[in-house]
Symmetry: C2
Subunit: 316 residues, 2 copies
């Protein structure tokens, strides 16, 4: 048994890989998800992608899959996935029926946390929160060296911690969730608002139109030195820092690991304000323990976590 | 081995008890702490209190102690305790030297959580947050059936979760901590403010002076039907509910248990608004799992948790 299959299933892309026990990717494939095409066709694309990385004459021992979904704790069925537009589907059984090898799946943020814990920035660290800042804000917890899923398998919704009860509406319909204040979507909203007020000319000229101003444009402008774009990212980072402080006070983890496309793209422009604000808002005796680091595996946290999930099941 | 000794050491009172394995208190003693008298004299009072509950001719196998303190994770020394005015003292060694039996200590909120988990409202429940609403707001976590202390033994500071980043100053010098919005101290502040504005006549007449208006008076007035006092408690309860929602989203515990003097005194006047607001602010798919209950052991959560701590160490 030299390798397992791993899939990071996103709303945009399907990444498949053949991974060894050290967490090295031996072969990799990426294709589009196209969730609009429906469950069956997405499953077909996963199968095609997986088959392209299986070496000839070898049958990997199992598959780990990272899914942007809430998964039922008893049945392993996907209860719902907004990004994939899935409700109550059995991806595990579908793939097992087709491939004849065991499939294990978990929420993508949980598996990114596991990936960083096993192979990345969190190696050797037993208690950590992995945070992903991308279109939304998500999280995955490692507590006592294991993925912590809570009593109902939904633990880790860091993006729905409330830091400003009078703050803006979140996609979940509550007010002042971190996701409404620090996600790519929030950054885009803030930047478009600025442009609509006749400011943010650098962002506007990079984008070409108000509608095209998004977190990517804000990042590009900020990295180029635009103070208005930098201020938007700094505000997002400070909001992130407030929620990190709350978690530091509640859980005392050894480390916070920040990943996700938006955070990865702009690095210290979000991380430094997050660190400053987290430090200030942490309960004073715990401040010296605060540690906030960027993800070590960049966009591979999820897929390597999926591989680690498979390896863990095979080792039992 | 039929019983252990347990102590709940508070800023006001020392409670000592002889407790059997079922969590039944066989004998109990209460005396004043008088922290102003200094560490040595408080230790003397603990010893006197303990000796009064030790049955003649029997040597209990060990002592568990609940301390309102932050305890060093390596040395078991008390790093600091604001309520006791202690800095870096070794209570464990002191008592062991005097009594010649092993002493184990932990933070009082952690042990209240353990007490409720073992003998109270949380029996049979593996993942819970115990919340105490008294002068301050504290918390203790049971995760996976065990007290969760985090990487630095400070986990559970539920009162220092930030729910309103522009909110009032907290005793820890940060803004918008739950403790600044839902504790006995916050309730007192809100009530005194009202009275100073010429309102809150019912509370004022119960207290006799502005300075004497406190959480107890607010509770008394509210239970007697005073709508102004009820509104203050309701606001505190709703703030509690916001922080509970954040924890529900982050940790998905099976249960939240509310204890502490203030909550115990007014019951549903805080619990119901907390439930309403927590429900509204919980990430929608998790709402159906939300469970908020009053403590089952009232003021005995801590002492029975201290007994459970001793039993657990003796069972190893």
């Amino acid at each position: 048994m030299s390798s397992v299959l791993a899939v990071d299933l996103g709303g945009t892309k399907i990444c498949s890989a053949l991974v060894n026990l050290k967490g090295e990717v031996i072969k990799q494939d990426t294709c589009l998800t196209m969730p609009d095409s429906g469950f069956e066709l997405v499953v077909d694309r996963i199968l095609t992608s997986l088959k392209s990385v299986i070496p000839e004459g070898e049958q990997p021992a199992g598959i780990g899959i990272a899914v942007p979904a809430y998964i039922d704790q008893c049945t392993d069925r996907i209860v719902f996935s907004p990004n994939l537009q899935w409700h109550d589907v059995d991806l595990k059984k579908k793939l097992e029926d087709h491939l004849g090898i065991p499939v294990w799946l978990d929420n993508d943020a949980n598996l990114a946390a596991l990936g960083e814990h096993r192979y990345g920035a969190g190696k050797g660290c037993n208690d950590l929160l992995y945070i992903t800042v991308s279109t939304g804000v998500g999280g995955g917890l490692i507590l006592g060296g294991k993925v912590y899923r809570g009593a109902f398998r939904g633990a880790g919704e860091f993006g729905h911690m409330i830091i400003d009860r009078n703050g803006p509406l979140c996609s979940c319909k509550n007010r002042g969730c971190l996701e409404a204040l620090a996600s790519g979507t929030a950054i885009k909203r803030d930047a478009q608002k600025l442009v609509n007020f006749g400011q943010g000319s650098r962002m506007f000229s990079l984008a070409g139109s108000v509608e095209k101003v998004d977190a990517g444009i804000v990042g590009q402008a900020a990295l180029g030195g635009d103070p208005e774009a930098q201020a938007i990212l700094s505000r997002a980072g400070r909001n992130l820092g407030i929620a990190i402080a709350s978690v530091m006070n509640l859980l005392n983890p050894e480390m916070f690991i920040i990943g996700g496309g938006v955070a990865y793209g702009v690095g210290h422009l979000i991380l430094n304000p997050a660190r400053d604000e987290a430090y200030k808002n942490t309960y004073p005796p715990y401040r010296k323990f605060l540690k906030i680091v960027p993800a070590g595996l960049s966009s591979d946290s999820g897929i390597l976590g999926a591989a680690a999930l498979a390896w863990d099941h095979l080792a039992v």
